[in-house]
């Protein structure tokens, strides 16, 4: 069996400036954060991000100046931080190009891409400004094949005259990066808990890099093939990165880190403090091992999931001081 194992730095080096990319996870869980820090450390520029509900994975990439354009539905850490501070600042300062969709809209777009279709119909968004307004101009769209030439289109059902459907364009990305619980060296991947849209995002990307908490033997995975997320050909590389989603949760492994998220949100409100955060946790350490050392073993141990819950039931999430 051919091994798909790759080092984190080597994997991140595959992504060129200007690449189109989607990242797995949802707001506060299973983002490939170690990979994100490595993209920042390698000073990637002009990335095009596609997502439904990212959180701090996108926020720190945006803040570090790695991103040119995003297509999304939401960017925040929910109750840990109800707005992505760098996302807010980037939009308000005119430093980012973006287009708004809804979560269902973005997931439908990924589904179309994964199915090999140019678009899919839905019944959502009519009457809203998600439907009526466009953030990207026609000129911006026309000038760049990485973005769909149209935000959307409306058609009447050929089977039901008078019935309107919203057509949403497929997404195709050069890269998709996921962080999951288990994988084999050969690239069989298992997600525990919610799948979010990880499987669909992977199926509309050319190169899929999966960072993983635990490498498990081939025969263990093949014992329960119904739990495998993706066909073998869909996974290009596997990198073994325990705690690779910190400060976000990984069901059955560890919880979100309320302290780290609080520090991030406080720092990200102020330009100088945000730079200091990057210096401490990204530029000032050689690799992800260095990042975990900067966070500290005591903290990481406090986040470990209780097997009865899949998270840390006694973790304090408010009033941390």
């Amino acid at each position: 069996m051919m091994s798909k194992l790759i080092g984190l730095a080597e994997a991140a080096a595959l992504v060129p400036d200007g690449a189109t990319l989607s990242l797995g996870g949802f707001t506060t869980q299973r983002h490939p954060m170690a990979f994100v820090y490595e993209l920042i450390r390698q000073k990637k520029r002009d990335l095009y991000l596609f997502g439904h509900s990212p959180g701090g994975d996108w926020d720190i990439l945006l803040g570090a100046g790695c991103v040119k354009r995003v297509e999304l539905a939401y960017e925040a850490d929910e109750a840990f931080g109800t707005i992505g501070p760098r996302w807010r600042r980037a939009v308000q300062a005119g430093r980012i190009e973006w287009e708004d969709y809804s979560n269902f809209g973005m997931v439908t777009r990924f589904q179309a891409g994964a199915m090999g279709l140019p678009f899919l119909p839905t019944r959502t968004a009519f009457g809203s400004d998600v439907f009526a307004k466009e953030a990207l101009s026609a000129e911006q769209r026309a000038a760049d094949p990485r973005t769909s030439q149209l935000k959307q289109a409306v058609m009447e059902s050929p089977f039901q005259p008078g019935e309107k459907l919203l057509l949403l364009p497929a997404i195709h990305t050069e890269f998709c990066v996921l962080h999951v619980q288990k994988a084999t060296e050969s690239g069989l991947v298992r997600v525990e808990g919610q799948t979010f849209a990880d499987n669909i995002q992977a199926l509309c990307a050319d190169t899929v890099i999966v960072t993983v908490e635990e490498i498990v033997p081939e025969e263990v995975m093949r014992q329960e093939p119904e739990r495998t997320l993706l066909p073998p050909f869909a996974v290009t590389h596997v990198a073994h990165v325990p705690f690779g989603s910190h400060p976000y949760a990984v069901y059955n492994y560890y919880d979100s880190d309320p302290r780290q998220l609080k520090d991030y949100h406080a720092a990200a409100m102020i330009d100088e403090d945000f730079q200091a955060y990057l210096d401490k946790y990204v530029y000032g350490v050689p690799d992800f091992e260095g990042y975990l050392a900067a966070v500290g073993k005591t903290r990481l141990d406090s986040l470990k999931a209780d097997p009865d819950y899949g998270y840390s039931p006694n973790l304090k999430r408010r009033r941390l001081d």
Binding site: Y74, E75, A79, I83, R88, F104, T124, Q194, K316
Partner: protein, 260 residues
């Protein structure tokens, strides 16, 4: 912290809102809960009068029975004990779009008199003064649930005559406009605010004040609303019961994550 004393009960405004919103959920209903106070309200309903309500989250948990309050709709706390764990596509297509969701439970930064919600930005859309996170699943829930329960802060600027961006469509411009826009079902049924409860007239779909919270009057609420609010027939919002408050404080949110 605003507290209201109705001897012998003392409760905060957030507690009153959570209880009032939870009471909008009936037993056995399918509830699609958005982030923030809706997660609290849905959990309270399930632990009081609606034990068989099916709570679903867009991130993929279906039939959650949470032992701890989640911080996000993608929190691991929504998973263990749930009926099913899937992903966004399954929830949005097979549950929401297919018409299986009875109640969408969401919150909003700005709301107008037809229950349209803005959670995208304030000011010119392409050059906003303030940017919010964006729709998330809110637009979809507002479009495709059979009815929508909304939680909001009640201030003049948050309930303006016209909102800057319609993220989640309510009754649009009233009358038949929602149907004419292409939406096949749903619409907001109630807005629970920090000052009262707004409902919608049957044909015009315009908001009216159904009740004002204890300690306030219909006039107080009308004066703090940016649009013209019909207050005819408004009564005082029924207060929480001791049992509801007890469960809310001891079981649902003992850490006081959302409760103030």
């Amino acid at each position: 912290m605003t507290t209201i004393s109705n001897p012998p009960l003392t409760y905060s405004l957030t507690e009153l809102m959570a209880v009032t919103a939870a009471r909008e959920i009936q037993d056995n209903e399918v509830v699609f809960a958005g982030t923030g106070l809706p997660m609290l309200g849905a959990m309270l309903a399930q632990k009081t009068h609606a034990p068989n309500c099916l709570i679903i989250f867009e991130a993929g948990a279906i039939g959650s029975r949470m032992r701890h309050l989640p911080m996000s709709v993608g929190d691991p706390r929504t998973v263990r004990g749930a009926a099913m764990a899937v992903g966004l596509a399954e929830v949005f297509t097979y549950m929401l779009q297919a018409g299986k969701v009875d109640v969408g439970f969401i919150s909003g930064a700005q709301i107008d008199r037809f229950g349209n919600i803005n959670s995208t930005s304030v000011g010119d859309y392409r050059h906003p003064a303030v940017r919010f996170p964006g729709s998330g699943g809110s637009c979809d829930i507002a479009c495709l649930a059979k009815r929508t329960v909304i939680i909001a802060q009640h201030e003049k600027r948050r309930l303006p005559e016209k909102i800057d961006y319609i993220t989640s469509p309510g009754w649009l411009t009233g009358g038949e406009s929602r149907k004419e826009a292409g939406l096949i079902r749903g619409g907001p049924s109630v807005v629970v605010t920090t000052k009262g409860v707004l409902r919608f007239r049957p044909t015009s779909h315009e908001a009216y004040l159904a009740s004002y919270h204890p300690g306030l009057s219909a006039e107080n609420v009308r004066d703090d609303t940016g649009f013209t609010l019909d207050t005819a027939g408004a009564f005082e919002t029924p207060i929480p019961t001791t049992e509801e408050l007890d469960i809310l404080r001891k079981v649902v949110d003992p850490e006081r994550i959302f409760l103030k």
